[in-house]
Protein backbone atom coordinates (compact mmCIF):
# COMPACT_ATOMS: atom_id res chain seq x y z
CA UNK A 1 0.00 0.00 0.00
CA UNK A 2 1.33 3.42 -0.94
CA UNK A 3 2.03 6.10 1.69
CA UNK A 4 -0.74 8.18 0.09
CA UNK A 5 -3.32 5.42 0.68
CA UNK A 6 -2.10 5.00 4.28
CA UNK A 7 -2.44 8.74 4.87
CA UNK A 8 -5.87 8.75 3.23
CA UNK A 9 -7.14 5.90 5.43
CA UNK A 10 -5.75 7.58 8.53
CA UNK A 11 -7.30 10.90 7.54
CA UNK A 12 -10.78 9.41 7.04
CA UNK A 13 -10.61 7.57 10.35
CA UNK A 14 -9.45 10.66 12.27
CA UNK A 15 -12.05 12.90 10.62
CA UNK A 16 -14.78 10.42 11.53
CA UNK A 17 -13.46 10.23 15.06
CA UNK A 18 -13.19 14.02 15.46
CA UNK A 19 -16.57 14.86 14.00
CA UNK A 20 -18.28 12.19 16.12
CA UNK A 21 -16.48 12.94 19.37
CA UNK A 22 -18.02 15.12 22.07
CA UNK A 23 -15.30 17.69 21.38
CA UNK A 24 -16.11 17.68 17.65
CA UNK A 25 -19.84 18.08 18.28
CA UNK A 26 -19.25 20.94 20.74
CA UNK A 27 -16.90 22.63 18.26
CA UNK A 28 -19.46 22.21 15.48
CA UNK A 29 -22.14 23.80 17.65
CA UNK A 30 -19.78 26.62 18.59
CA UNK A 31 -19.03 27.32 14.92
CA UNK A 32 -22.75 27.33 14.09
CA UNK A 33 -23.41 29.61 17.05
CA UNK A 34 -20.57 31.82 15.82
CA UNK A 35 -22.24 31.98 12.41
CA UNK A 36 -25.59 32.74 14.01
CA UNK A 37 -24.05 35.42 16.23
CA UNK A 38 -22.21 37.05 13.31
CA UNK A 39 -25.41 37.03 11.25
CA UNK A 40 -27.49 38.47 14.08
CA UNK A 41 -24.98 41.23 14.82
CA UNK A 42 -24.72 42.06 11.15
CA UNK A 43 -28.50 42.11 10.78
CA UNK A 44 -28.92 44.32 13.86
CA UNK A 45 -26.19 46.76 12.79
CA UNK A 46 -27.53 46.88 9.28
CA UNK A 47 -31.10 47.52 10.51
CA UNK A 48 -29.86 50.37 12.68
CA UNK A 49 -27.36 51.99 10.33
CA UNK A 50 -28.59 51.25 6.83
CA UNK A 51 -30.72 54.27 5.82
CA UNK A 52 -32.42 52.23 3.11
CA UNK A 53 -33.88 50.02 5.82
CA UNK A 54 -35.51 53.14 7.26
CA UNK A 55 -37.16 54.19 4.02
CA UNK A 56 -34.38 56.29 2.48
CA UNK A 57 -33.01 55.65 -0.96
CA UNK A 58 -29.23 55.75 -0.75
CA UNK A 59 -27.67 54.44 -3.98
CA UNK A 60 -25.64 51.20 -3.82
CA UNK A 61 -22.61 53.15 -5.06
CA UNK A 62 -22.46 55.04 -1.75
CA UNK A 63 -22.32 51.77 0.19
CA UNK A 64 -19.65 50.50 -2.16
CA UNK A 65 -17.54 53.60 -1.47
CA UNK A 66 -18.00 53.11 2.25
CA UNK A 67 -16.90 49.45 2.04
CA UNK A 68 -13.90 50.48 -0.06
CA UNK A 69 -12.84 53.02 2.54
CA UNK A 70 -13.24 50.60 5.44
CA UNK A 71 -11.28 47.75 3.79
CA UNK A 72 -8.63 50.22 2.56
CA UNK A 73 -8.21 51.27 6.16
CA UNK A 74 -7.93 47.67 7.34
CA UNK A 75 -5.52 46.59 4.57
CA UNK A 76 -4.68 48.98 1.72
CA UNK A 77 -6.32 50.93 -1.12
CA UNK A 78 -5.88 48.12 -3.69
CA UNK A 79 -7.55 45.58 -1.47
CA UNK A 80 -10.22 48.11 -0.47
CA UNK A 81 -11.15 48.60 -4.13
CA UNK A 82 -11.13 44.87 -4.76
CA UNK A 83 -13.26 43.89 -1.76
CA UNK A 84 -15.72 46.76 -2.19
CA UNK A 85 -17.86 44.50 -4.42
CA UNK A 86 -18.02 41.79 -1.82
CA UNK A 87 -20.79 41.62 0.81
CA UNK A 88 -19.17 43.17 3.87
CA UNK A 89 -20.32 40.38 6.21
CA UNK A 90 -18.27 37.88 4.17
CA UNK A 91 -15.09 39.94 4.49
CA UNK A 92 -15.73 40.58 8.17
CA UNK A 93 -16.24 36.85 8.67
CA UNK A 94 -12.99 36.09 6.85
CA UNK A 95 -11.08 38.63 8.91
CA UNK A 96 -12.68 37.43 12.13
CA UNK A 97 -12.11 33.76 11.43
CA UNK A 98 -8.37 34.34 10.97
CA UNK A 99 -8.31 35.39 14.61
CA UNK A 100 -9.75 32.22 15.99
CA UNK A 101 -8.55 29.63 13.43
CA UNK A 102 -5.16 29.08 15.18
CA UNK A 103 -6.79 28.42 18.55
CA UNK A 104 -9.68 26.38 17.16
CA UNK A 105 -7.23 24.25 15.21
CA UNK A 106 -5.14 23.79 18.33
CA UNK A 107 -8.20 22.84 20.40
CA UNK A 108 -9.21 20.22 17.86
CA UNK A 109 -5.77 18.83 17.13
CA UNK A 110 -3.53 19.22 20.16
CA UNK A 111 -3.88 15.56 21.18
CA UNK A 112 -3.89 14.03 17.71
CA UNK A 113 -0.37 12.60 17.90
CA UNK A 114 0.55 12.83 21.58
CA UNK A 115 -2.76 11.23 22.60
CA UNK A 116 -1.78 8.12 20.65
CA UNK A 117 1.77 8.24 22.00
CA UNK A 118 0.64 8.65 25.60
CA UNK A 119 -1.32 5.38 25.73
CA UNK A 120 0.76 3.72 22.98
CA UNK A 121 -2.32 3.28 20.81
CA UNK A 122 -0.04 4.20 17.91
CA UNK A 123 1.59 0.76 18.27
CA UNK A 124 -1.42 -0.87 16.59
CA UNK A 125 -1.15 1.32 13.52
CA UNK A 126 2.62 1.91 13.37
CA UNK A 127 3.22 -1.77 12.62
CA UNK A 128 0.89 -1.52 9.62
CA UNK A 129 1.64 1.93 8.20
CA UNK A 130 4.62 4.21 7.87
CA UNK A 131 4.76 6.62 10.79
CA UNK A 132 5.10 9.57 8.42
CA UNK A 133 1.87 8.51 6.68
CA UNK A 134 0.07 8.37 10.01
CA UNK A 135 1.24 11.90 10.84
CA UNK A 136 0.29 13.15 7.36
CA UNK A 137 -3.15 11.55 7.71
CA UNK A 138 -3.68 13.27 11.04
CA UNK A 139 -2.64 16.63 9.54
CA UNK A 140 -5.13 16.19 6.70
CA UNK A 141 -7.81 15.21 9.22
CA UNK A 142 -7.36 18.33 11.39
CA UNK A 143 -7.27 20.50 8.31
CA UNK A 144 -10.36 18.79 6.94
CA UNK A 145 -12.31 19.00 10.19
CA UNK A 146 -11.60 22.72 10.68
CA UNK A 147 -12.39 23.36 7.01
CA UNK A 148 -15.73 21.54 7.41
CA UNK A 149 -16.55 23.51 10.57
CA UNK A 150 -15.60 26.77 8.83
CA UNK A 151 -17.84 25.76 5.96
CA UNK A 152 -20.75 25.34 8.37
CA UNK A 153 -20.02 28.78 9.81
CA UNK A 154 -19.75 30.46 6.40
CA UNK A 155 -22.71 28.59 4.91
CA UNK A 156 -24.91 29.77 7.76
CA UNK A 157 -23.97 33.36 6.97
CA UNK A 158 -24.52 32.83 3.20
CA UNK A 159 -27.96 31.50 3.95
CA UNK A 160 -28.90 34.44 6.19
CA UNK A 161 -27.49 36.91 3.66
CA UNK A 162 -29.65 35.40 0.92
CA UNK A 163 -32.76 35.30 3.10
CA UNK A 164 -32.32 38.94 4.11
CA UNK A 165 -31.55 39.88 0.49
CA UNK A 166 -28.42 41.72 1.64
CA UNK A 167 -26.60 40.46 -1.47
CA UNK A 168 -27.53 38.92 -4.77
CA UNK A 169 -27.25 35.17 -5.35
CA UNK A 170 -24.35 35.71 -7.76
CA UNK A 171 -22.49 37.82 -5.15
CA UNK A 172 -22.94 35.07 -2.57
CA UNK A 173 -21.81 32.45 -5.07
CA UNK A 174 -18.72 34.42 -6.12
CA UNK A 175 -17.55 35.78 -2.76
CA UNK A 176 -18.85 33.23 -0.25
CA UNK A 177 -16.90 30.15 -1.34
CA UNK A 178 -13.86 32.33 -2.09
CA UNK A 179 -13.70 33.68 1.47
CA UNK A 180 -14.28 30.23 2.90
CA UNK A 181 -11.59 28.75 0.62
CA UNK A 182 -9.06 31.39 1.67
CA UNK A 183 -9.82 30.69 5.36
CA UNK A 184 -9.37 26.99 4.69
CA UNK A 185 -5.99 27.57 3.04
CA UNK A 186 -4.92 29.66 6.01
CA UNK A 187 -5.97 26.78 8.28
CA UNK A 188 -3.45 24.46 6.57
CA UNK A 189 -0.53 26.33 8.12
CA UNK A 190 -1.94 26.07 11.64
CA UNK A 191 -3.02 22.44 11.17
CA UNK A 192 0.61 21.62 10.34
CA UNK A 193 1.91 23.60 13.31
CA UNK A 194 -0.60 21.89 15.61
CA UNK A 195 0.57 18.46 14.44
CA UNK A 196 4.18 19.49 14.99
CA UNK A 197 3.48 20.67 18.54
CA UNK A 198 1.51 17.47 19.23
CA UNK A 199 4.39 15.29 18.06
CA UNK A 200 6.93 16.89 20.40
CA UNK A 201 5.53 15.43 23.62
CA UNK A 202 3.63 12.42 24.96
CA UNK A 203 1.34 14.49 27.17
CA UNK A 204 -1.67 16.26 25.65
CA UNK A 205 -1.73 18.93 28.35
CA UNK A 206 1.87 19.89 27.55
CA UNK A 207 1.05 19.89 23.84
CA UNK A 208 -1.86 22.27 24.46
CA UNK A 209 0.30 24.50 26.63
CA UNK A 210 3.13 24.55 24.06
CA UNK A 211 0.67 25.33 21.29
CA UNK A 212 -0.82 28.22 23.21
CA UNK A 213 2.63 29.67 23.89
CA UNK A 214 3.71 29.14 20.29
CA UNK A 215 0.63 30.67 18.69
CA UNK A 216 0.49 33.56 21.17
CA UNK A 217 4.11 34.30 20.35
CA UNK A 218 3.19 34.36 16.64
CA UNK A 219 0.40 36.80 17.38
CA UNK A 220 2.68 39.08 19.40
CA UNK A 221 5.44 38.96 16.75
CA UNK A 222 2.96 39.72 13.97
CA UNK A 223 1.62 42.67 15.94
CA UNK A 224 5.17 43.89 16.59
CA UNK A 225 5.99 43.55 12.87
CA UNK A 226 2.88 45.57 11.99
CA UNK A 227 3.79 48.28 14.48
CA UNK A 228 7.38 48.41 13.17
CA UNK A 229 6.04 48.69 9.63
CA UNK A 230 3.67 51.50 10.54
CA UNK A 231 6.24 53.36 12.63
CA UNK A 232 8.77 53.07 9.78
CA UNK A 233 11.44 52.97 12.44
CA UNK A 234 14.97 52.20 11.25
CA UNK A 235 15.82 50.72 14.63
CA UNK A 236 13.06 48.11 14.48
CA UNK A 237 13.10 47.49 10.73
CA UNK A 238 14.31 43.92 11.37
CA UNK A 239 10.95 43.20 12.98
CA UNK A 240 9.27 43.62 9.61
CA UNK A 241 11.25 40.66 8.31
CA UNK A 242 10.24 38.53 11.27
CA UNK A 243 6.70 38.91 9.96
CA UNK A 244 7.55 36.85 6.88
CA UNK A 245 8.07 33.80 9.08
CA UNK A 246 4.56 34.02 10.54
CA UNK A 247 1.47 32.72 8.69
CA UNK A 248 -0.57 35.72 9.88
CA UNK A 249 1.59 37.99 7.73
CA UNK A 250 0.05 36.54 4.55
CA UNK A 251 -3.50 37.51 5.46
CA UNK A 252 -3.38 40.66 3.29
CA UNK A 253 -1.83 38.73 0.41
CA UNK A 254 -4.81 36.36 0.44
CA UNK A 255 -7.28 39.14 -0.32
CA UNK A 256 -5.17 41.18 -2.71
CA UNK A 257 -6.40 41.65 -6.30
CA UNK A 258 -2.87 40.78 -7.50
CA UNK A 259 -3.23 37.14 -8.56
CA UNK A 260 0.49 36.19 -8.33
CA UNK A 261 0.70 37.55 -4.79
CA UNK A 262 -2.47 35.75 -3.77
CA UNK A 263 -1.28 32.48 -5.29
CA UNK A 264 2.09 33.03 -3.61
CA UNK A 265 0.39 33.43 -0.22
CA UNK A 266 -1.63 30.29 -0.78
CA UNK A 267 1.51 28.37 -1.74
CA UNK A 268 3.43 29.69 1.28
CA UNK A 269 0.63 28.80 3.72
CA UNK A 270 0.28 25.32 2.23
CA UNK A 271 4.07 24.89 2.31
CA UNK A 272 4.01 25.99 5.95
CA UNK A 273 1.49 23.27 6.79
CA UNK A 274 3.21 20.59 4.74
CA UNK A 275 6.66 21.57 6.04
CA UNK A 276 5.56 21.50 9.67
CA UNK A 277 3.90 18.11 9.08
CA UNK A 278 7.02 16.74 7.39
CA UNK A 279 9.08 17.84 10.38
CA UNK A 280 6.57 16.20 12.73
CA UNK A 281 6.80 13.02 10.63
CA UNK A 282 10.58 13.08 10.97
CA UNK A 283 10.29 13.53 14.75
CA UNK A 284 7.90 10.59 15.06
CA UNK A 285 10.00 8.43 12.73
CA UNK A 286 13.05 8.93 14.92
CA UNK A 287 11.48 8.60 18.32
CA UNK A 288 10.72 5.43 20.28
CA UNK A 289 6.99 4.88 20.47
Amino acid sequence: MSPVSEAGLTCLREMRRNLRSAKGIVMGLLFLLGGAAASLIYAAVSELTNPNRQGHDVPEEAFRDLRQKVWAEVWNADIGGYLADSPSIFVALFKGSLWFIPFMTLMIGFEQVCGDLQHRTIRYTAIRARRESIVAGKFLAIWGVVAVLLFALHAFVWFVTLIRADASFSQVLVWGPRMWGLSAIYTAAYAGLTILVSSLTRRPVISLFLGLIFFSLFWVLDLAADVARMAESERFSWLQYVGYAIPDYYEAWLVTPKAPQMLGAMAILLAYGVGATAFAGWVIHRRDI
Binding site: R120, T121, Y124, A126, R128, R130, D288
Partner: protein, 311 residues
Protein backbone atom coordinates in the same frame (compact mmCIF):
# COMPACT_ATOMS: atom_id res chain seq x y z
CA UNK B 1 23.45 -35.71 2.54
CA UNK B 2 23.76 -31.98 3.18
CA UNK B 3 21.88 -30.51 6.09
CA UNK B 4 19.63 -27.59 5.27
CA UNK B 5 20.26 -24.61 7.54
CA UNK B 6 17.11 -23.47 9.31
CA UNK B 7 15.62 -20.22 8.07
CA UNK B 8 15.13 -17.66 10.78
CA UNK B 9 11.99 -15.61 11.14
CA UNK B 10 13.66 -13.28 13.64
CA UNK B 11 17.34 -12.65 14.37
CA UNK B 12 18.69 -10.32 17.00
CA UNK B 13 22.39 -9.53 16.71
CA UNK B 14 24.23 -7.94 19.67
CA UNK B 15 21.32 -5.63 20.45
CA UNK B 16 21.89 -3.02 23.15
CA UNK B 17 19.42 -0.46 24.38
CA UNK B 18 19.59 1.98 27.25
CA UNK B 19 16.95 4.29 28.69
CA UNK B 20 18.96 7.07 30.27
CA UNK B 21 21.25 5.46 32.83
CA UNK B 22 19.38 2.15 32.74
CA UNK B 23 20.84 -0.47 30.44
CA UNK B 24 17.75 -2.43 29.34
CA UNK B 25 19.50 -4.76 26.88
CA UNK B 26 23.16 -5.52 26.49
CA UNK B 27 24.49 -7.51 23.54
CA UNK B 28 21.37 -9.63 23.13
CA UNK B 29 21.66 -12.22 20.39
CA UNK B 30 19.24 -15.01 19.51
CA UNK B 31 17.49 -16.50 16.51
CA UNK B 32 13.95 -17.72 16.13
CA UNK B 33 13.48 -20.53 13.61
CA UNK B 34 10.62 -19.89 11.17
CA UNK B 35 7.49 -21.75 12.22
CA UNK B 36 8.61 -22.20 15.84
CA UNK B 37 6.79 -21.10 18.92
CA UNK B 38 9.48 -19.19 20.84
CA UNK B 39 9.37 -18.01 24.42
CA UNK B 40 11.04 -14.94 25.88
CA UNK B 41 11.55 -15.61 29.55
CA UNK B 42 12.87 -13.59 32.42
CA UNK B 43 12.01 -11.79 35.62
CA UNK B 44 10.57 -8.27 35.71
CA UNK B 45 13.01 -5.78 34.26
CA UNK B 46 14.94 -8.49 32.41
CA UNK B 47 14.39 -6.69 29.09
CA UNK B 48 11.68 -8.87 27.53
CA UNK B 49 9.35 -6.03 26.55
CA UNK B 50 12.28 -3.96 25.28
CA UNK B 51 13.40 -6.88 23.08
CA UNK B 52 9.80 -7.25 21.87
CA UNK B 53 9.54 -3.57 21.08
CA UNK B 54 12.77 -3.69 19.09
CA UNK B 55 11.57 -6.70 17.09
CA UNK B 56 8.30 -4.86 16.41
CA UNK B 57 10.24 -1.78 15.29
CA UNK B 58 8.81 0.41 18.05
CA UNK B 59 12.21 1.09 19.60
CA UNK B 60 15.54 1.87 17.96
CA UNK B 61 18.39 -0.25 19.29
CA UNK B 62 21.44 1.77 20.34
CA UNK B 63 23.64 -0.95 18.89
CA UNK B 64 23.15 -4.14 16.92
CA UNK B 65 20.64 -5.25 14.36
CA UNK B 66 17.16 -6.73 14.50
CA UNK B 67 16.02 -8.66 11.44
CA UNK B 68 12.48 -9.88 10.86
CA UNK B 69 11.94 -12.12 7.83
CA UNK B 70 15.37 -10.94 6.60
CA UNK B 71 14.39 -7.26 6.72
CA UNK B 72 15.23 -4.52 9.16
CA UNK B 73 12.61 -4.62 11.89
CA UNK B 74 11.64 -1.02 11.14
CA UNK B 75 10.93 -1.62 7.45
CA UNK B 76 7.18 -1.23 7.94
CA UNK B 77 6.51 -1.07 4.21
CA UNK B 78 7.85 -4.60 3.59
CA UNK B 79 6.81 -6.15 6.91
CA UNK B 80 3.27 -4.78 6.81
CA UNK B 81 0.77 -7.64 7.15
CA UNK B 82 3.65 -10.10 7.67
CA UNK B 83 4.50 -9.08 11.24
CA UNK B 84 1.88 -8.49 13.93
CA UNK B 85 2.04 -7.69 17.62
CA UNK B 86 -0.06 -7.95 20.73
CA UNK B 87 1.57 -5.12 22.68
CA UNK B 88 1.45 -5.52 26.44
CA UNK B 89 0.60 -1.98 27.45
CA UNK B 90 -0.97 -0.33 24.40
CA UNK B 91 -4.50 0.88 24.98
CA UNK B 92 -7.15 0.17 22.37
CA UNK B 93 -8.67 3.41 21.04
CA UNK B 94 -11.48 3.96 23.56
CA UNK B 95 -13.63 6.10 21.23
CA UNK B 96 -13.82 3.56 18.44
CA UNK B 97 -16.01 0.48 18.09
CA UNK B 98 -14.26 -2.88 17.97
CA UNK B 99 -15.52 -3.45 14.42
CA UNK B 100 -14.34 -0.08 13.10
CA UNK B 101 -10.97 -0.54 14.77
CA UNK B 102 -10.37 -3.98 13.25
CA UNK B 103 -11.62 -2.96 9.80
CA UNK B 104 -9.30 0.08 9.85
CA UNK B 105 -6.31 -2.10 10.78
CA UNK B 106 -7.24 -4.66 8.12
CA UNK B 107 -7.36 -1.95 5.48
CA UNK B 108 -4.09 -0.42 6.68
CA UNK B 109 -2.36 -3.75 6.20
CA UNK B 110 -3.57 -3.85 2.62
CA UNK B 111 -6.72 -5.97 2.78
CA UNK B 112 -9.16 -4.52 0.21
CA UNK B 113 -12.15 -2.64 1.58
CA UNK B 114 -14.57 -5.29 0.28
CA UNK B 115 -12.81 -8.05 2.23
CA UNK B 116 -11.69 -6.08 5.27
CA UNK B 117 -14.94 -6.41 7.19
CA UNK B 118 -15.19 -10.15 6.54
CA UNK B 119 -11.57 -10.64 7.71
CA UNK B 120 -12.16 -8.51 10.80
CA UNK B 121 -15.33 -10.42 11.69
CA UNK B 122 -13.50 -13.71 11.23
CA UNK B 123 -10.61 -12.59 13.46
CA UNK B 124 -13.09 -11.50 16.14
CA UNK B 125 -15.01 -14.77 15.84
CA UNK B 126 -11.76 -16.69 16.35
CA UNK B 127 -11.42 -15.08 19.77
CA UNK B 128 -15.08 -15.73 20.59
CA UNK B 129 -15.85 -12.03 20.44
CA UNK B 130 -18.40 -11.76 17.62
CA UNK B 131 -20.92 -10.03 19.84
CA UNK B 132 -18.49 -7.18 20.64
CA UNK B 133 -18.44 -5.89 17.06
CA UNK B 134 -20.39 -2.70 17.77
CA UNK B 135 -19.11 -2.18 21.30
CA UNK B 136 -16.73 0.70 21.98
CA UNK B 137 -13.20 -0.45 22.85
CA UNK B 138 -13.29 1.73 25.96
CA UNK B 139 -16.21 -0.30 27.31
CA UNK B 140 -14.45 -3.67 27.10
CA UNK B 141 -13.28 -5.55 30.19
CA UNK B 142 -9.58 -6.39 30.54
CA UNK B 143 -10.15 -9.93 29.27
CA UNK B 144 -12.24 -8.77 26.31
CA UNK B 145 -9.65 -6.12 25.39
CA UNK B 146 -6.93 -8.79 25.47
CA UNK B 147 -8.96 -10.94 23.09
CA UNK B 148 -9.54 -8.01 20.74
CA UNK B 149 -5.78 -7.42 20.93
CA UNK B 150 -5.26 -11.04 19.92
CA UNK B 151 -7.79 -10.69 17.10
CA UNK B 152 -5.88 -7.75 15.63
CA UNK B 153 -2.60 -9.63 16.01
CA UNK B 154 -3.91 -12.61 14.01
CA UNK B 155 -5.76 -10.45 11.47
CA UNK B 156 -4.89 -11.47 7.91
CA UNK B 157 -2.73 -14.45 9.02
CA UNK B 158 0.66 -12.75 9.47
CA UNK B 159 3.87 -14.79 9.24
CA UNK B 160 5.33 -13.63 12.56
CA UNK B 161 3.23 -12.82 15.62
CA UNK B 162 4.67 -11.29 18.80
CA UNK B 163 2.57 -11.79 21.93
CA UNK B 164 3.76 -9.78 24.91
CA UNK B 165 2.33 -11.21 28.15
CA UNK B 166 -0.85 -12.51 26.48
CA UNK B 167 -2.35 -13.87 29.69
CA UNK B 168 -1.11 -11.28 32.20
CA UNK B 169 -3.78 -10.06 34.58
CA UNK B 170 -6.43 -12.47 33.35
CA UNK B 171 -8.44 -14.85 35.50
CA UNK B 172 -7.43 -18.52 35.13
CA UNK B 173 -10.39 -19.47 32.95
CA UNK B 174 -9.81 -16.69 30.39
CA UNK B 175 -6.04 -17.30 30.53
CA UNK B 176 -6.73 -20.95 29.71
CA UNK B 177 -8.98 -19.99 26.80
CA UNK B 178 -6.34 -17.61 25.44
CA UNK B 179 -3.73 -20.36 25.70
CA UNK B 180 -6.03 -22.57 23.65
CA UNK B 181 -6.37 -19.82 21.04
CA UNK B 182 -2.60 -19.47 20.84
CA UNK B 183 -2.19 -23.24 20.55
CA UNK B 184 -4.65 -23.24 17.65
CA UNK B 185 -2.33 -20.83 15.81
CA UNK B 186 0.79 -22.86 16.51
CA UNK B 187 2.18 -24.26 13.29
CA UNK B 188 0.48 -21.63 11.14
CA UNK B 189 3.00 -18.88 11.86
CA UNK B 190 6.08 -18.06 13.92
CA UNK B 191 4.97 -17.15 17.42
CA UNK B 192 7.12 -15.29 19.92
CA UNK B 193 5.62 -15.15 23.38
CA UNK B 194 6.78 -13.41 26.48
CA UNK B 195 5.23 -14.51 29.74
CA UNK B 196 5.86 -14.83 33.43
CA UNK B 197 3.91 -18.05 33.43
CA UNK B 198 6.68 -20.57 32.90
CA UNK B 199 4.40 -23.59 32.90
CA UNK B 200 2.46 -21.93 30.11
CA UNK B 201 5.61 -21.35 28.06
CA UNK B 202 6.94 -24.85 28.73
CA UNK B 203 3.63 -26.21 27.50
CA UNK B 204 3.39 -24.10 24.34
CA UNK B 205 6.91 -23.25 23.19
CA UNK B 206 9.41 -25.21 21.09
CA UNK B 207 12.35 -23.00 22.05
CA UNK B 208 13.12 -20.04 24.27
CA UNK B 209 15.65 -17.47 25.37
CA UNK B 210 16.07 -16.65 29.05
CA UNK B 211 16.90 -13.02 29.75
CA UNK B 212 18.26 -11.58 32.94
CA UNK B 213 19.48 -8.04 33.53
CA UNK B 214 19.26 -7.33 29.82
CA UNK B 215 21.38 -10.28 28.74
CA UNK B 216 20.61 -13.70 27.30
CA UNK B 217 21.67 -16.21 29.96
CA UNK B 218 20.45 -19.26 28.05
CA UNK B 219 18.72 -20.06 24.80
CA UNK B 220 17.85 -23.14 22.83
CA UNK B 221 15.12 -25.67 22.36
CA UNK B 222 12.87 -26.34 25.31
CA UNK B 223 14.46 -29.78 25.64
CA UNK B 224 17.93 -28.27 25.78
CA UNK B 225 16.88 -25.64 28.29
CA UNK B 226 15.21 -28.05 30.64
CA UNK B 227 17.88 -30.72 30.18
CA UNK B 228 15.03 -33.06 29.34
CA UNK B 229 17.28 -35.68 27.82
CA UNK B 230 19.73 -35.62 30.73
CA UNK B 231 17.58 -35.88 33.79
CA UNK B 232 14.22 -37.16 34.95
CA UNK B 233 12.37 -37.38 38.23
CA UNK B 234 10.20 -40.07 39.69
CA UNK B 235 8.01 -39.37 42.68
CA UNK B 236 7.13 -42.48 44.64
CA UNK B 237 4.54 -43.18 47.31
CA UNK B 238 6.91 -45.04 49.56
CA UNK B 239 10.40 -46.53 49.65
CA UNK B 240 12.80 -48.11 50.17
CA UNK B 241 14.77 -47.31 47.09
CA UNK B 242 17.86 -49.25 46.02
CA UNK B 243 19.82 -46.44 44.42
CA UNK B 244 22.77 -48.74 43.65
CA UNK B 245 20.57 -50.91 41.46
CA UNK B 246 19.24 -47.89 39.58
CA UNK B 247 22.76 -46.57 39.04
CA UNK B 248 23.70 -49.91 37.55
CA UNK B 249 21.14 -49.51 34.74
CA UNK B 250 22.75 -48.75 31.36
CA UNK B 251 22.77 -45.01 30.62
CA UNK B 252 22.29 -43.90 34.23
CA UNK B 253 25.22 -41.89 35.57
CA UNK B 254 23.81 -41.01 38.96
CA UNK B 255 20.65 -41.33 41.00
CA UNK B 256 19.65 -39.35 44.10
CA UNK B 257 16.75 -39.76 46.47
CA UNK B 258 15.15 -36.90 48.40
CA UNK B 259 13.27 -38.41 51.34
CA UNK B 260 11.29 -35.28 52.08
CA UNK B 261 9.69 -35.03 48.64
CA UNK B 262 10.02 -38.81 48.01
CA UNK B 263 11.61 -38.00 44.64
CA UNK B 264 14.25 -39.98 42.82
CA UNK B 265 16.33 -37.82 40.45
CA UNK B 266 18.02 -39.86 37.72
CA UNK B 267 20.88 -38.32 35.71
CA UNK B 268 21.62 -39.86 32.33
CA UNK B 269 24.89 -40.47 30.49
CA UNK B 270 25.50 -39.44 26.93
CA UNK B 271 23.41 -42.26 25.62
CA UNK B 272 22.83 -43.34 22.08
CA UNK B 273 19.20 -44.31 22.61
CA UNK B 274 16.38 -42.08 23.77
CA UNK B 275 15.89 -40.92 27.34
CA UNK B 276 12.57 -42.76 27.28
CA UNK B 277 14.46 -46.09 27.08
CA UNK B 278 16.24 -45.31 30.35
CA UNK B 279 13.02 -44.12 31.99
CA UNK B 280 11.34 -47.38 31.02
CA UNK B 281 14.18 -49.45 32.47
CA UNK B 282 14.22 -47.52 35.73
CA UNK B 283 10.42 -47.70 36.08
CA UNK B 284 10.46 -51.41 35.38
CA UNK B 285 13.05 -51.90 38.08
CA UNK B 286 11.01 -49.91 40.60
CA UNK B 287 7.76 -51.69 39.80
CA UNK B 288 9.43 -55.09 40.03
CA UNK B 289 10.56 -54.10 43.53
CA UNK B 290 7.02 -53.20 44.58
CA UNK B 291 7.47 -49.48 44.65
CA UNK B 292 4.36 -47.45 43.90
CA UNK B 293 4.94 -44.52 41.54
CA UNK B 294 3.09 -41.19 41.86
CA UNK B 295 4.50 -39.26 38.90
CA UNK B 296 7.31 -39.08 36.35
CA UNK B 297 8.69 -35.86 34.80
CA UNK B 298 11.42 -35.28 32.26
CA UNK B 299 14.03 -32.58 32.71
CA UNK B 300 14.41 -30.01 35.44
CA UNK B 301 11.29 -28.12 34.57
CA UNK B 302 11.58 -24.65 33.09
CA UNK B 303 10.78 -22.97 36.36
CA UNK B 304 13.72 -24.59 38.16
CA UNK B 305 16.01 -23.85 35.24
CA UNK B 306 15.02 -20.19 35.21
CA UNK B 307 15.52 -19.98 38.98
CA UNK B 308 19.02 -21.36 38.57
CA UNK B 309 19.91 -18.94 35.79
CA UNK B 310 18.39 -15.71 37.06
CA UNK B 311 18.94 -13.85 40.28
Amino acid sequence: MTEVAPSYAVSLRTISKAFGATQALSGVTFDVVAGDCFGLIGPNGAGKTTAFSIIAGYLHPDEGMALVLDHDARATDVLKARLAVLPQDAMLPPYESVGEFLVHLAMLQGIPRAKAEAEARLALKDVDGSEWWGRRCGKLSHGMAKRVGLAQAFLGNPEVVLLDEPTAGLDPRIAFEIRQLIKKRKGHCTLIISSHNLHELEEICDAAAILDHGQVVASGTMEELTAAAKEFRIQIRKGPVALDAIQAIAGVSRADYDRKSRTITVHCDQYEGEAEDIISLVLMHLLQNGIKISSVSKGKGLEKRVMELTE
